[in-house]
């Protein structure tokens, strides 16, 4: 139970007052000489059932009345705040607010979105509980904003939505850092979220550090999760997977491929009207979908022959979540995909060259240039999309060049050289070559994302067919993407803000592996890296909201999109922005579409050992997150008093009793 005036609970021992009075009364007995002892003895021998129960009930009613009065005066709080505010007011209340697009889902009632409902509830709770200092952590969670309560109450409902996913571990880490830096005393952290897996990322290694960090605080930090986990089964989201210009015989057209996703649980046949808008010109079509996904491939939209670059928007009718009903895209002439192969043995790098040069679709230009270490200085790095490095790891100047490439979005895949050196790049270094006579196959790989992701149709790549005969493992802080039977890592990725850095532990040479002979996986891997690296070179391109950008978003100019977004948060809001000669279409990350909800047990496990409470709420709920329930205790007290009075009423005398009047005045004459 939680109270706003917990000090008044000190008076709770007064509940025992009736017992004390009863005991005192027992000691104040009188002595009387009595003749009719036979009746007293008979009375004491009789069953005491009801009389004893009545006495206990009277005592209980009196105690309950006192308890009710004390509890009512202590101003108890209700609904899910168990464990919170139990010891009085807190020094600091940190609000961690999930502003991701999935929080824009509306409930059945017309009470607003999950975010709006949550903020309204938090404001109401803040007004009730009060806190000297309020810290708001929202969006990407990097900057805690500490404000006074009165300002927080005004500002809290102004927190708007974003198109970026929330990084819950980062937000809680930020809260942890704030508490540590400011030596905040008693702190409550109120989390408002829909507990989506892409926002919480429960398998993230940071959770362990966060958990340990909070446990190390001398003062207990209490967590309250206001969860809006209810899905919207009929919610649809639209995402453009590709928009490219295609020249036809008499003009040009735009080929748009998109996917419509229905949230988990939705079923049945539905018609979905699609509206395309390109340069103010709108066109509509309709599709009929039955399953959870619908892929529209290369939908043709006529273009002006002279328009080579541009942007557009596709939208679907409003549904439970308005934040995923439109998707911006940009298009322009395809950029040549240039691969730089750095090798110490040009002949051995032939498979790499083939994989990089073969174009996946007509109209694209794919080139691969093989250079050795001595020719690096003459390379034009600004047009390179992908670097395949099969040479001793770069140091100094070469390493700096690669870092610059990665920082602007370029991709690098390292293959082990013939003689692995001691050099370290991106925190990783090669070990020594070793033979694997068993030709280990790939046992596990990440099929949900990155280079080895499943195809658009959902089919898995035949990664398991790859055999590795020689391996030179990479050691360092890299995340495994594919591991061999026996535990060795075949492919790993180094965490970077932009771009991609991969380490492949074998080469494509037939003596080392079957990467080249079973070339599908290898080709897809190279092409995906090449495509990702080329994206940063395109002048018109799509970017995910919230991801770091190579150029400063504050310099962007908005062409379309949410007008409430301020310039510092352009990168967080969907829309089309102009940055110099580039046009960027910012949209929600792909993981936002139909992201699963983290199970209650999994969430609880993240806070195991910490003071954690959870309140499940619904979007559009009209009630308050907390409310005082002293009236209930007052009513309880009145009921207890009425019950006590009823039990204390003297019992009605039986008119036929032999003790009553007739016996007194009449004699029995036999």
């Amino acid at each position: 139970m939680n109270f706003l005036q917990p000090l008044l609970l000190v008076a709770l021992p007064l509940v025992s007052l009736p017992i004390v009075i009863h005991l005192i009364n027992q000691r104040r007995y009188q002595t009387v000489r009595w003749a009719a002892m036979m009746f007293l003895l008979a009375a004491t021998r009789m069953s005491r059932g009801y009389a004893r129960l009545r006495q206990w009930l009277i005592m209980a009613a009196r105690m309950a009345a006192i308890a009710g009065l004390i509890f009512a005066a202590s101003r108890p709080l209700a609904q899910g705040w168990l464990g919170l505010a139990a010891g009085g007011r807190t020094d600091t209340t940190i609000l961690v607010i999930d502003r991701s697009p999935s929080m824009e889902q509306e409930g059945a009632a017309a009470g607003g979105t999950k975010r709006e409902t949550g903020l309204r509830r938090l404001k109401s709770a803040l007004e009730t509980v009060g806190s000297p200092k309020v810290v708001i952590i929202d969006g990407d969670g990097t900057k805690p904003i500490a404000i006074e309560l009165s300002k927080a109450l005004a500002a809290i409902t102004e927190i708007g939505p974003t198109s970026a996913s929330s990084d819950m571990p980062a937000m809680l880490q930020s809260a942890h850092d704030y508490i540590k830096a400011n030596q905040a005393g008693r702190t409550d952290i109120w989390i408002c979220s829909d507990v989506r897996a892409n926002d919480w990322n429960p398998s993230d290694a940071r959770w362990q550090a966060i958990h340990e960090g909070y446990q190390a605080f001398p003062n207990t930090v209490r967590f309250l999760l206001v969860a809006y986990a209810a899905p919207a089964p009929e919610n649809l989201s639209v995402r453009v997977s590709e928009a490219r210009r295609h020249v036809t015989g008499d003009g040009a057209e735009l080929l748009v491929s998109l996917r419509i996703t229905r949230e988990e649980g939705g079923d049945g046949r539905i018609n979905v009207p699609l509206q395309f808008e390109i340069a103010g010109a709108r066109s509509e079509t309709a599709i009929e979908m039955t399953g959870p996904h619908y892929d529209l491939k290369d939908y043709r939209i006529p273009l002006d022959k002279t328009r080579e670059r541009g942007w557009g928007k596709v939208s679907i009718p409003a549904d439970a979540n308005r934040a995923d009903n439109e998707f911006y895209f940009a298009f322009g002439p395809p950029v040549a995909r240039r691969t730089l192969i750095v090798t110490e043995d040009p002949q051995a790098s032939r498979p790499l060259q083939l994989a990089a040069e073969v174009t996946p679709e007509p109209g694209l230009t794919c080139t691969a240039e093989i250079v050795d270490l001595g020719q690096l200085s003459s390379v034009d790095w600004s047009i390179v999309s992908l670097v395949l490095w099969q040479a001793p790891l770069p140091e100094e100047e070469e390493a700096e060049r690669l870092r610059a490439l990665v920082a602007r979005g370029g991709q690098v895949i390292f293959f082990p050289p013939k003689t692995p050196g001691n050099a370290t790049t991106f925190g990783v270094h090669w070990t020594s070559w070793r033979d694997d006579p068993n030709q280990a196959a790939v046992e596990n790989w990440r099929g949900d994302q990155d280079l080895l992701m499943h195809t658009n149709s959902g089919a898995a790549l035949p990664v398991g067919q790859i055999k590795v005969r020689r391996i030179c493992a990479a050691e360092g802080t890299a995340t495994p993407l594919a591991t061999l039977r026996g535990g060795a890592t075949l492919l790993s990725r180094v965490a970077t803000d932009l771009g991609g850095v991969y380490f492949c532990s074998t080469t494509a040479a037939p003596s080392d592996s079957s990467l080249a002979t079973d070339g599908v996986v290898f080709y897809v891997m190279i092409q995906r890296a090449l495509r990702a690296g080329t994206g940063s070179l395109e002048k018109n391109r799509d970017v995910s909201a919230g991801l770091p950008q190579s150029d400063n978003p504050e310099q962007w100019k908005r062409l379309a999109g949410a007008s409430e977004a301020i310039s510092t948060e352009y990168a967080l809001h969907r829309g089309v922005y102009e940055s110099g000669d580039k046009v960027l279409a910012v949209n929600r990350p792909a993981a936002e579409d139909a992201a699963p909800v983290v199970s209650d047990d999994r969430v609880a496990s993240l806070f195991r050992g910490l003071d954690f409470s959870r309140v499940d709420d619904k979007a559009g709920g009209a009630g308050s997150l907390i409310h005082e329930i002293w009236r209930m205790f007052l009513i309880f007290m009145i009921i207890a008093m009425i019950m006590e009075a009823a039990l204390c009423l003297p019992r009605r005398q039986n008119q036929a009793s032999p003790i009553s009047a007739p016996m007194r005045r009449e004699s029995v004459v036999a």
Partner: protein, 303 residues
């Protein structure tokens, strides 16, 4: 009336003079020694015709009814009822429980008044009066005599009676049933704090001996209702163990026990043909005696 002119606390001349107009009758034929007001089981010489009886040799020829002989040509003897006096045996309970009573009067004092007044009335109409004080046994006893001086002895014993000891009423009544001559009026004045079932045999024993039994059951209103509002420690006036009790808690059960006791006692007295009077000691005793005397007058005449 009082040869020694001593005033008795339990005798009120005003009350006695008021009661003088009510005769004390026996409900059954009494077997006295002299002529009196009460019916006798034998034929006598009163003016009240009883029956005709066939003449048998030896009968007094003066009692032959010659008119009946003239009508029937047979000899009949005409018989008349006999009136006699009675022996009134007053049995007063002097156990410790009789000391209980309201602030104004205790049960023993009330009993003294009842016994004194009934004894006086009986003596006044020529009946013999005796007294037995009963506690855990027969404490004092005065055999019935009919002279006024003997009445003073009865009053002295009444005055000296002290309430103490346990109640052994049942044993004493059995004893009295045997020791008192047949056909006497036995007046029991007691709080009867014994099991009703034990009294049943006593009353039937007295009835078997053809005694006319009257019972004054003395009760204090407080004993019936247990009207206390604080925890009480009850000390047994007859020396038993003390009991600590919360009156509010046990009042229901106490009253239930009282009710059961009174109902059982009522059944006993009805079956035993006892003249039973439940008497609350906050009531004026002369009213109780008047009710007693009037009740006996209406049931008089049974021989």
């Amino acid at each position: 009336m009082f040869p020694d002119r001593r005033s008795r606390s339990f005798l009120d001349p005003a009350v006695l003079s008021k009661l003088a107009g009510f005769p004390l009758h026996a409900r059954k034929p009494m077997q006295g020694t002299v002529s009196g007001r009460h019916p006798s089981p034998h034929r006598g010489s009163s003016v009240e015709f009883a029956e005709y009886r066939k003449y048998v040799p030896g009968d007094d020829l003066r009692r032959l009814d010659w008119r009946a002989y003239g009508r029937s040509d047979r000899f009949y003897v005409k018989e008349f009822e006999a009136d006699t006096n009675l022996r009134c045996c007053l049995v007063l309970d002097t156990s410790g429980s009789m000391d209980f009573g309201a602030p104004k009067i205790s049960k023993i004092e009330y009993g003294r008044k009842l016994a004194g007044a009934i004894g006086y009335l009986a003596a006044q109409q020529g009946d013999a009066v005796g007294l037995a004080c009963v506690a855990d046994g027969l404490v004092r006893t005065v055999p019935p005599r009919r002279n006024p001086a003997h009445l003073m002895a009865v009053f002295d014993v009444l005055e000296q009676a002290k309430p103490q000891g346990t109640t052994g009423l049942a044993e004493v009544l059995h004893e009295l049933a045997e020791t008192v001559r047949q056909r006497a009026l036995v007046v029991i004045i007691s709080d009867l704090f014994v099991e009703p079932e034990s009294l049943r045999s006593c009353f039937q024993h007295l009835r078997f001996r053809k005694h006319d039994v009257a019972v004054f059951h003395l009760l204090d209103p407080l004993e019936l209702n247990l009207n206390f509002h604080r925890p009480m420690r009850f000390l047994d006036m007859e020396g038993g163990p003390a009991i600590f009790a919360e009156p509010n808690e046990i009042a229901d059960r106490y009253q239930k026990a009282v009710r059961e006791y009174l109902e059982n006692l009522k059944a006993v007295v009805l079956e035993s043909a006892v003249d039973y009077h439940r008497t609350l000691i906050d009531e004026a005793y002369e009213q109780v005696i008047i009710r007693f005397l009037v009740g006996r007058t209406t049931s008089q005449g049974v021989r």
